[in-house]
């Protein structure tokens, strides 16, 4: 009780500092609450929309992958099942529709187009076949104009409000849906409301089922994309599942039964990247708050040395003094949490009010997020209090007898520097140290797998925290050195006597270290994110020999329709190369990566099916040997011919050199590939290649999604194997060469127009690269806002530190002012200290950020099989450093102006009273 009382009274004396520290905690907690609520609201909106739209199906029948369908005859069988209340099939297809002239996509300036941007006159549209009047679930969508069609045939359509706006048509208007061989003319009879978040990603046109089946060629026999099933009450679900799993295996072994919880599980998986980002943002803000708390506590300990010594003198044992500081930290955290949680809720309500469409499903708060924010803050407060509490407990009671004096560090704190260096070395050791040899020495059966697991988990559990805490512990020594280097420079720049700036920071070296570390967190995060992002994307080189253009369709183009596609004017005959891309389970790429890492084994690779002979002719490939070295030039042609021959055989694959390195395979090895039709099958590696073109192909499907990275592995096989083992019935992606002897740019434009009329998009590799890069950088910048928020949060720590520094030197300032230092000089003196703090943050942030980037690159190579040369976006790094300095200066302005305006006598009196 006495300790709590002492802590409370201490807060009352240092009201501003306490408020700033509590504010930092509250802001970090509110950020966690708001961001996790944002994710939860998004998920809730998605689920609600899906439930509303799909009628909250208890179970669904879905195909094995994106290339296959579900026979519609199963709907009748299901309807006849006594356990089924309702079964509804829907068919999905995709087209690129023309936008209205005044509804063009993202602005594409002349420079954008020159750099490779594609004209954005299309909008990706989902066509949904609906069997009416049986499908009543569709009526749950709110009609805002017109009405629903009543039959399963006819040329009517119901669109969502976003689509109506973008294509510039309304009820009663006619639209044309492009197809490979023909166009489908429809009349809009109704407009429904779809949450803008979903409508923006996929505009929708609802069409009578049989009309769409006929248009897409899915009518013989009639097929659908999925069947939604609502069961009667009190049905034994396990029995139903067993019965229908057996039935589906008879119809098509790739068909799957997915329960509602799996549906939400799928949604969760797809939103997993957003969820991870939301918790990552929270963690970074709490880390920043931790250093701010540390700084505040260490200031409190150093200012109360005499009081704490007196406590020891009159009989407080070390443990009691230790507890006092820890109690202060916990009290600050509790108050911060109590303010932060409602504050986070307030942010969300304000956002909801402002962005109603985004939160059409309402705001959903995440209890897990709140618990994470609260528990995380308590943990960080405890960690932050450890050192100051220990220092406080080591204060000698003899110091109660001494006059109060502030001594600066005469020597740099070398011991802490070395401890910090050891901690910061954990991560590099994980990636560059002799782990494999250690595991081999320890007799582990599979040292390579152990190394991968240790690298992945070790990086996040030990490496990253080690870097952050390590640099914090190194900070005092770095400050000591930086003061001696930069103080004279700053003094000259600000026209101040150099001796005045000497040891400004080192008189409160640990409070400066804590603040510097708080500033470091944001900058290091920004650097790490941006370097990783730019490295992944920036390493692309455009290939020399590569198809002239790529064509992609949102919908599957059957083998039959591909013959029509191949006759597109401008295209070189015989050069249409279909590229089939599939995974064994249809899971998202990130799920494959995460599952393979957590499971410690392959759960599937991405399979690219091509016509091997045509592909080898069209794409520049560099054949490698089993050690990854390029084959001599005179052996390349022979290697290509051999690969072409081998690929004619069943279950042969070509792998990239990255794959070889990460999987430790060689030519002739068999490699297990999980297929959706035939389960695990052994494929033989017939060649190892490298090609920037392969990167483009892989990246097109990897980097279009949020947070996706390179897959756990990609292999190139034949179309025949893709059909046999993965059940593909067509392709969405094609490469093609343009006719020779004509201007390629003009020809491409003609091809684009011709294909565009059929609902397809075409572009050359430069354009693809631009689109993917632009999308990726947009996501990267969005994620980087977490780092900016952390830097802003750190400004509270700067304000705290500067105020404490000013307070402890009031008497000194009073003396200086009395003997002639001007108020402007005093202002610059304090701003110089803030600038030094900012510089400390910059140095720490640069060092930590670059170290994390180097290690993260190794992580990419170790886990994901891809390790491109590091690309550092120096402009962005420079902007980050500058932002940090601005933050530091801005945060110090208020205390600096305050003291500069104070009269000398007041400073002297206040300074004496403080001692």
């Amino acid at each position: 009780m006495v300790l709590f009382h002492l802590a409370l009274t201490n807060f009352k004396v240092r009201k501003v500092r306490t408020s700033l520290t509590v504010a930092a905690i509250a802001l970090s907690v509110s950020l966690v609450v708001a961001v996790t609520a944002g994710y939860k609201s998004l998920e809730g909106m998605a689920l609600r929309y899906l439930n509303q739209y799909m009628g909250a199906a208890d179970v669904m029948i879905v195909p094995g992958n994106q290339y296959t369908f579900v026979p519609e005859k199963l709907v009748d069988e299901l309807t006849a099942d006594p356990d089924v209340r309702q079964a509804v099939g829907r068919l999905q297809s995709f087209r690129e529709m023309n936008r209205a002239a005044n509804q063009r996509g993202p602005a594409r300036s002349a420079q954008h187009l020159a750099a490779g941007a594609m004209p954005s006159d299309k909008i990706a549209t989902e066509l949904i076949g609906v069997r009416r009047p049986q499908d009543k679930a569709i009526q749950s969508m709110t009609l805002i104009d017109g009405q629903w069609f009543d039959g399963s045939t006819g040329n009517e359509a119901v669109v969502d409000q976003f689509t109506a706006e973008k294509i510039g048509e309304g009820v009663g208007d006619q639209i044309e849906v492009p197809g490979i061989n023909s166009k489908l003319k429809l009349t809009i009879v109704g407009i429904v409301h779809k949450p803008v978040f979903f409508a923006q990603h996929s505009a929708t046109i609802h069409i009578p089922m049989e009309t769409l089946q006929h248009f897409t060629g899915a009518d013989n026999p009639p097929q659908v994309s999925s069947i939604s099933i609502n069961l009667r009450d009190k049905v034994n679900f396990d029995a139903f599942e067993r019965r229908w799993t057996a039935r589906l295996a008879q119809v098509d072994s790739s068909l799957r039964l997915r329960a509602r919880r799996q549906n939400s599980g799928e949604l969760e998986k797809n939103l997993r990247g957003v969820q991870i980002a939301s918790y990552l943002g929270g963690t970074i803000s709490m880390l920043t708050a931790m250093f701010i708390i540390f700084s505040a506590l260490s200031m409190g300990v150093s200012e109360r040395q005499r009081t704490l010594a007196m406590l020891r003198a009159i009989g407080a044992v070390r443990a009691q003094v230790f507890e006092l500081v820890v109690l202060e930290a916990l009290a600050l955290a509790i108050v911060g949490i109590a303010i932060g949680i409602p504050l986070g809720m307030l942010w969300m309500w304000m956002l909801q009010h402002h962005y109603r469409e985004m939160f059409a499903g309402g705001v959903v708060f995440s209890p897990a997020g709140m618990i994470f924010g609260a528990a995380g803050s308590m943990v960080t407060a405890l960690l932050a209090s450890a050192l100051p509490a220990w220092w406080a407990s080591r204060i000698s009671p003899l110091e109660a007898m001494n006059a109060h004096s502030v001594t600066s560090a005469r020597r740099p704190p070398i011991v802490w520097f070395f401890i910090g260096a050891i901690l910061a070395s954990i991560d590099p050791f994980i990636f560059f140290g002799p782990l494999k040899q250690i595991f081999q020495f320890a007799g582990m059966p599979n040292p390579d797998a152990a190394v991968e697991t240790v690298r992945f988990f070790g990086h996040f559990v030990g490496g990253l925290p080690g870097i952050m805490i390590g640099y914090f512990l190194m900070a005092p020594a770095i400050i000591w050195v930086m003061e001696r280097i930069f103080a004279p420079i700053l003094a000259r720049a600000l026209a101040l006597p150099p001796k005045l700036l000497r040891q400004q920071l080192s008189t409160g070296i640990w409070r400066a270290a804590g603040t510097g570390a708080a500033l470091m967190v944001g900058l290091a995060t920004l650097i790490a994110l941006q370097v990783q992002g730019h490295t992944l994307i920036g390493g692309w080189k455009l290939p020399d020999k590569f198809p002239d253009c790529f064509i992609w369709s949102a919908d599957i183009i059957s083998w039959k329709d591909q013959k029509t596609l191949a006759t597109t004017p401008g295209m070189e005959p015989g050069s249409l190369l279909p590229v089939v891309v599939t995974t064994p389970t249809g899971d998202s790429k990130l799920s494959l990566v995460m599952a393979s890492v957590v499971a410690g084994q392959d759960v599937g690779v991405m399979f690219f099916g091509v016509d091997p002979q045509l592909a080898l002719k069209m794409v520049q490939l560099d054949f490698r040997d089993n050690d990854g070295a390029s084959l001599p030039r005179d052996q390349q042609a022979a290697a290509e011919a051999k690969a072409a021959e081998e690929m004619k055989k069943p279950r042969q694959i070509i792998v990239t050199d990255d794959f070889r390195e990460s999987r430790h395979v060689k030519i002739g090895d068999t490699f297990p590939v999980l297929t959706s039709v035939n389960g695990w099958q052994k494929y033989t590696i017939c060649a190892i290649v490298w090609s920037p073109g392969a990167d483009v192909l892989v990246s097109m499907f990897d980097l279009g999604n949020l947070m996706d990275q390179r897959t756990a592995g990609s292999v190139f096989g034949s179309i025949a194997d893709a059909q046999h083992d993965f059940g593909v019935t067509g392709a969405r992606l094609f490469a093609a060469n343009l006719q020779g002897g004509v201007d390629k740019a003009d020809l491409l434009k003609n091809v684009q127009k011709s294909l565009g009329d059929r609902g397809l998009v075409a572009g050359d590799v430069r354009q693809i690269k631009f689109e993917i890069e632009s999308g990726f950088y947009r996501v990267l910048d969005m994620i980087s806002t977490v780092a900016i928020a952390a830097m802003a949060l750190a400004s509270l720590g700067v304000a705290n530190t500067i105020m404490a520094s000013v307070r402890s030197r009031q008497w000194q300032f009073g003396v200086l002012r009395s003997i002639g230092l001007g108020s402007g000089d005093l202002l610059r003196l304090i701003l110089a200290e803030a600038a030094m703090l900012g510089l400390v943050g910059v140095v720490l942030g640069l060092a930590a950020g670059l170290e994390i980037s180097v290690d993260a690159r190794q992580l990419s190579g170790a886990i994901l099989g891809y390790s491109p040369p590091m690309q550092i976006p120096w402009r962005i790094v420079g902007e980050g450093c500058l932002a940090l300095l601005v933050v530091a200066l801005a945060a110090s302005l208020w205390p600096a102006l305050g003291v500069a305006r104070t009269q000398p006598l007041d400073l002297l009196q206040a300074g004496r009273a403080a001692t």
Partner: protein, 244 residues
Amino acid sequence: MQPLSVEKVIKTFRQGDKSVTALASIDLEVQQGQFLAIMGASGSGKSTLLHLMAGLAKPDSGAVRINGEDLAKMPDRQLTIFRRRNIGLVFQAFNLIPTLTAEENIALPLMLEGTDSGAAKKKVTQLLENLGIADRRTHRPDSLSGGEQQRVAIGRALVTDPAVILADEPTGNLDSVNSRAVCELLRDLSIIHNKTIVMVTHEPVVGAFAQDVAVIRDGRIVDRFGTNGINGHDLAAKYADSLK
């Protein structure tokens, strides 16, 4: 058993590359109820001796015993608790907690001990009355005069009913009126309440309030004599003689 005894205590300090002997084999005994003033010039070792008596520092050799217990042999935790219960400290700079009231400052050792708040309050109230500052109980140090602050500090030193009270220049920050009041208080504690008090001072006027004076020079006790009611002026002369 004497409440306080110092036996052949030696204490040295390092100053740069030199070793300085602060105390050179000091022997001293203080009887129950005795009020001893230790006088000496600046740097004579008197404060160091007091620190050793309080257990705030340990001698290089020798023993400091309070109620027969050798402080030098105790580990830190045991020593701290022993000091809390058996030694009352009065500092020159008062050293009150600025955020606590007068009564809270006095009660602090009892709170650290975990004493029941009711019992503590009773004891503190009694002390406040005895010290003549009951009407200032809810005031914080910044609204107390120097004399009042020192009374609070004395109250804090007395609250655990210690075996010994050690005062380090208790009048150093007080004016003459308050100095006299504090000295009289200490004398009354010794005579009336049989408290054992050791006071370090360099002022003969203050030393005259004690029963005994020990003169320390260059780390050695060079003289010890009773004051027998002599005034400060005479004490100053005697003190000067001791130093010759």
